[in-house]
């Protein structure tokens, strides 16, 4: 078998299967390792983002102030929910926090949702077209989550500067959380700066790592469950036992994963709003 032969190169068996699945479709745009682009993550993220934007655009275009269609009602419920969250949490003045929150929620949810698809379907289909590696869950790629977190943080800096002005925004780095006067102001400035730097570093890191970790672990468990009947033969009794076990385990984990993908999208959105409100607040 062609497939079997190829696996021999990477090690074969369970390890080979999992390793194979955890390898990105990579394109090197330079000789450095840092210049490797995970094409699968980029494409899936772009396609999902496009789907999200186009579908919401058409729903919004056809929106009526009369009795809404079911699709419109669903989107209205979602938008109302996000808007309520933002109104409860964010007390600054900004027009783009709610749309930002909606976008992060929808994109993270849709990207996470790719995890619901059977873990081998898309990679195996891609193999028919000669694509060797394919990872469909963009949020299980740390590059994606870090990228999103950094994007969010640039926007949050913008919110902070817009609410406080450039001078007081950067002055705050030296004067908060420890407020002081006179000599103490100067003595405490480095400590404040250090704390602030840690804070600025930890926030995007926690935001991105939490999402990445959950999705990566989820995907790994799907792979492990798939391993139950790896290399199984139909004429063996254990195949049927393991097959049943795989079905039950897969069913439970997939059902449970519905909660995880929604929760992770929700957490990402909520933290975005919370950080935005913290950035807008004066100390």
């Amino acid at each position: 078998m062609r497939f079997a032969m190829r696996v021999e190169e990477t090690g074969g068996g369970m390890t080979g299967y999992i390793k194979h699945h955890l390898t990105h479709l990579t394109v090197n745009i330079g000789h450095d390792k840092l210049l490797a682009v995970h094409l699968d993550s980029v494409i899936f993220k772009a396609v999902i983002a496009l789907l999200f934007v186009v579908s919401f655009f058409f729903i919004a275009r056809r929106a009526t102030s009369g009795v809404p269609s079911k699709t419109q009602a669903a989107v209205e419920l979602l938008v109302g929910f996000v808007d309520g969250m933002v109104k409860d949490t964010f007390h600054g003045k900004s027009d783009f926090i709610a749309p930002l929150a909606l976008t992060t929620f929808c994109l993270v949810f849709l990207e996470n949702f790719m995890d619901m698809l059977p873990v081998d379907f898309l990679p195996e289909s891609a193999k028919i077209f000669g694509v060797e590696h394919l990872r469909v869950v963009a949020t299980a790629d740390i590059n994606t989550t870090v990228g999103m977190a950094l994007g969010v943080f640039l926007l949050l800096w913008y919110v902070g500067i817009k609410h406080k002005g450039v001078v007081s925004f950067f002055k705050e780095w030296f004067t908060a959380p420890f407020h002081a006067h006179g000599l103490w102001l100067i003595l405490l400035a480095p400590i404040n700066l250090l704390l602030r730097l840690i804070e600025e570093l930890v926030r995007p890191l926690s935001l991105s790592l939490r999402l990445f970790g959950n999705m990566y672990a989820g995907e790994l468990i799907f792979l492990l469950i798939a391993c139950f009947t790896l290399d199984a033969a139909l004429n063996h009794v254990s195949t049927y036992v393991m097959g049943g076990a795989q079905f039950i385990a897969g069913f439970i984990w997939t059902a449970f994963h519905i909660l995880i993908i929604t929760l992770q999208a929700f957490i990402f959105m909520t933290l975005t709003i919370v950080y935005a409100s913290m950035a807008a607040e004066r100390h």
């Binding site: 074969g12 299967y17 079911k70 081998d120 195996e124 139950f228 097959g243």
Partner: protein, 159 residues
Amino acid sequence: MDIAITLVIQGLVFFGVAWLVMVFIWPHIIAAIEARQKTIADGLDAAAKSQKELSEATARSKDILRDARDRAALLIEQANKRSNEIVEEAKGTAANEAQRLVSQAQGEVARETTRAREGLRQEVGKLALQGASRVLGRDIDSNTHADLLDQLAAEVARG
């Protein structure tokens, strides 16, 4: 490495979970959506109904107002007519009264004239009798010469 069976079971799991979603999750989402649709539809209906009621009430109030105005105009007209009538009536009464007073006075005058004439005639009769008796030197029996005297008196009176 053969993943054919794994693939099949993954597919079964997918459809199993899809069934799970369809049975336990989807109804709740659809119910929320339909409740929202119903709320909006009901609200719009209520708004349309009250709009219609408002326009009806406005029309009715206009009707009532016009009615009242008509009735007021009628009343004013009637009152005017009545007052004219009263004035006319008073005029008539006054004229009649005047007429009556005038005719009464005229009657009085006529009566006084007659009485005066009567008195005068008798007086003249008496005077004529006295004159005649003095002329003749003897009494004239007023009874026997009554005819003559009366005639005389009548002539005096006429004269």
